[in-house]
C-alpha cells in the first residue's frame, strides 16, 4: 500500500474518536439537564462540575482530531 493512501485510511480511522467524544459530550450535558430539571435549585452550584466533565470528554475528541491531522499532514 502506498504511504499516501495508508495516511488517508489511518486518518479516517482516527477520526472515529471524534464521534465517540461527541457522544460523550452529549451524555454529559444530557445527564446534567436531567438532574437539573429534577432539582433546579441545586443546578446552579453544579455548573463548575458540568464544565469539568465537558472538558474531560472534549479533550479526548480533540486528541483524536489532532492525531488524525498529524497522520495526514506531518511527515
Amino acid at each position: 500500500m502506498e504511504l499516501a493512501s495508508a495516511q488517508v485510511i489511518g486518518a479516517g480511522i482516527a477520526a472515529i474518536g471524534v464521534g465517540a467524544a461527541a457522544a460523550g459530550v452529549g451524555f454529559v450535558f444530557g445527564s446534567f439537564l436531567q438532574g437539573a430539571l429534577r432539582n433546579p435549585a441545586a443546578a446552579g452550584s453544579q455548573t463548575g462540575t458540568l464544565y469539568i466533565g465537558f472538558a474531560a470528554a472534549e479533550l479526548l475528541g480533540l486528541m483524536a482530531f489532532a492525531v488524525a491531522m498529524i497522520i495526514l499532514y506531518a511527515r
Partner: protein
C-alpha cells in the same frame, strides 16, 4: 486527495527566531512565541491598569475588572474554602494568561500582510510549564502544611487494609498524571481548533480556485463553517481557561484540606 496547492496546517505552530542570524546558535533567541507572550502581557497589564483606579463610582472598565476578580475569588472560595484567598494570585494569573493568549491567538491579525498571529498556548511547553507550577504549589503546600502526613492523600479514609494495597497505587498514578492532563487540555484545544480553521480556510480558497457552482457552493459552506468555528474557538478558549483555574483550585484544595 492531495490537491495541487499543498495544505500545511502545522506551519502556523512553527517557532522562528526574530533576532537575526548571529543569534541562531544562542539558546536565548527572541522568538515569535516570546513576542506574542509579551503582547499578551501588555494587553493584560493595560486591562488591569485601566480598571484599578479605585473610583468611588465604578465605570464600565472598572466593573469589568471587578467582575473578573470577583468571579475568580468565588471559584477559589467555593473550592478551597476561606483559606482560598491565599492561592488566588496564581489561579488568577493562570486564568487571565490562558484566556488572553487564547483570545489574542484567535484574533484575525492575519488580514494585515506580514503579521502572523501566534497562539502562545498552542505550545505544550507553555501550558506544560504552567501545569508544573500548579503541581509544584500543590506539593509545596501539602508537604509544608501536613509534612509526611501528606501521603495519606493516597489512602481514602476508612479503607480496609487489604483494599489499601490496591487503592494506594491507583491513587498515586492518578495523582502523578494530573500535571500532564492539566497542561495537555488547553494545549490540545488550541492546537486542534487552529488546525481546523486552517484546513477549512484552505477549502475556501480551493473552492474559489476550482470555480463553477460546485466550487463556489463548497467555498461558501466552508466559509460559514470557519465563521462558526471561530465563534466556537472563543467559547472553547474561555472554557479551557476556566477549567484550568478550577482544576488548579481543586488540586490545591486536596493539599490544603487533606480529606
Amino acid at each position: 486527495m492531495a490537491g495541487p496547492a499543498k495544505i500545511d496546517p502545522m506551519h502556523q505552530f512553527q517557532i522562528t527566531s526574530l533576532g537575526g542570524g548571529e543569534l541562531q546558535a544562542s539558546p536565548f533567541m527572541f522568538t515569535n512565541s516570546a513576542l506574542w507572550m509579551l503582547i499578551v502581557l501588555a494587553v493584560i497589564v493595560a486591562f488591569m491598569w485601566g480598571g484599578t483606579k479605585r473610583q468611588l463610582v465604578p465605570g464600565r472598565w472598572q466593573t469589568a475588572v471587578e467582575m473578573l476578580t470577583g468571579f475568580l475569588e468565588n471559584v477559589t472560595r467555593q473550592s478551597i474554602g476561606p483559606e482560598g484567598r491565599k492561592y488566588l494570585p496564581w489561579v488568577f494569573t493562570a486564568f487571565v494568561f490562558i484566556l488572553a493568549a487564547n483570545w489574542i491567538g484567535a484574533m484575525p491579525f492575519g488580514i494585515v500582510p506580514g503579521a502572523h498571529p501566534f497562539t502562545v498556548t498552542s505550545q505544550f511547553t507553555v501550558t506544560g510549564t504552567m501545569s508544573i507550577i500548579s503541581f509544584a504549589i500543590v506539593l509545596g503546600v501539602g508537604f509544608w502544611k501536613h509534612g509526611l502526613h501528606f501521603f495519606s492523600l493516597f489512602v481514602p479514609k476508612g479503607t480496609p487494609f487489604i483494599l489499601t494495597l490496591l487503592i494506594a497505587p491507583i491513587e498515586f498514578v492518578s495523582f502523578m498524571v494530573r500535571p500532564f492532563s492539566l497542561g495537555l487540555r488547553p494545549f490540545i484545544a488550541m492546537f486542534a481548533g487552529h488546525i481546523l480553521l486552517e484546513v477549512f480556510g484552505n477549502f475556501v480558497v480551493q473552492g474559489l480556485n476550482a470555480g463553477g457552482p460546485m466550487g463556489y457552493g463548497i467555498s461558501l459552506l466552508a466559509f460559514l463553517f470557519v465563521a462558526f468555528v471561530s465563534a466556537l474557538e472563543l467559547l472553547v478558549g474561555a472554557i479551557q481557561a476556566f477549567v484550568f483555574a478550577l482544576l488548579t483550585a481543586l488540586y490545591i484544595n486536596d493539599a490544603v484540606n487533606l480529606h
